[in-house]
Symmetry: C2
Subunit: 160 residues, 2 copies
DNA sequence: ACAAGCCCGAGTAAAATAGTCAACTATTAA
DNA sequence: TTAATAGTTGACTATTTTACTCGGGCTTGT
């Protein structure tokens, strides 16, 4: 299946956006610092998120990103499929041509698993996550430490 | 998450073993031909399956592999975890040290997903699969075509 | 004008995957 | 006792994917 750091980062970043929804447009630099994701990589991810209509962007100073709709209307599955191509466990990508142009012995199994995963991720929205105790705790911690480490050469601060 | 062709091949091969349980020990060459998996690769996989006690082996002519216990007592999850290391979706491998030695914002989510997947794969045994209509059909097809294509340089037949 | 910030595409190093190969050892049939 | 069958092991390798970086644009507020 396709569930990599790309998808994980995207969900984390989107959740960050959800948590700071009231603060107006959020810059990628902010997310980068809070979540420890490189700015360049975030740009790449948000390009896709924007194309899929999950976020709106504002350019220029004071600009940034914000969720395009209510956090409860954005499922984790939406975010992942926006950046990764698929949530699929079959080799053939659901085409059932796995073996000599015919369905392999375990095709059905992987199809079901894919569906299972997809359903699970569809059932959880960013809004759900925001409400969670655990998430709140981590978010509070992140507010505490004023973004100590800078990892990207492109972060705003010239700490080197 | 870790769900690759390695795991898929292993399940397919084990299912083949389950389907041909009554035929006595099954050689890897047989599985290779029926399922289109290279012999060398199967060797690697079965080495692990044996170490995990999922199959018993007999050496020498007439030898081969067989399931170590009833197909209903072997879950798909057992097979996958035997060859792949983990069924885990978190980056940190469940250690919760994802960000600065502390749990990242989405750690909980991926943990739950992992559990979800694991539960699903635990709930399905090789025995369950054998009983399925779809699997029966594919198995019948495989019996029909007397293993037309040989893909490995190491297959027994000297068809070249 | 200029700086903040988004936008975009190409390029790349490292890691993981999917597999190969060769040289064993054990067992059985002839 | 010899030859053939089949499992056993471990090292090695090509390919693919991942996870990025880089450099340059374009927009817009001040």
């Amino acid at each position: 299946m396709r569930l990599t750091t790309k998808g994980r980062y995207a969900v984390t970043a989107m959740l960050d956006l959800a948590l700071h929804y009231d603060d107006g447009p959020i810059t990628l630099a902010d997310i980068s610092q809070r979540q420890g994701i490189s700015l360049s990589y975030l740009e790449q991810l948000f390009s896709r998120l924007r194309k899929r209509g999950l976020v709106d962007s504002t350019r220029g100073p004071g600009g940034g990103y914000r969720l395009s709709r209510n956090a409860h209307e954005i499922a984790v599955a939406d975010v992942i499929t926006a950046v990764d191509e698929k949530v699929e466990t079959t080799r053939c990508g659901g085409l059932a041509n796995c073996q000599d142009d015919q369905q392999c012995l375990t095709h059905e199994l992987w199809s079901e698993l894919s569906q299972q995963i997809y359903d699970f991720l569809c059932g959880i929205s960013l809004g759900n996550l925001v409400e969670r105790q655990g998430v709140q705790e981590v978010a509070a911690r992140q507010r505490g430490q004023a973004s100590s480490v800078s990892l990207s050469s492109r972060t705003t601060e010239e700490s080197l």
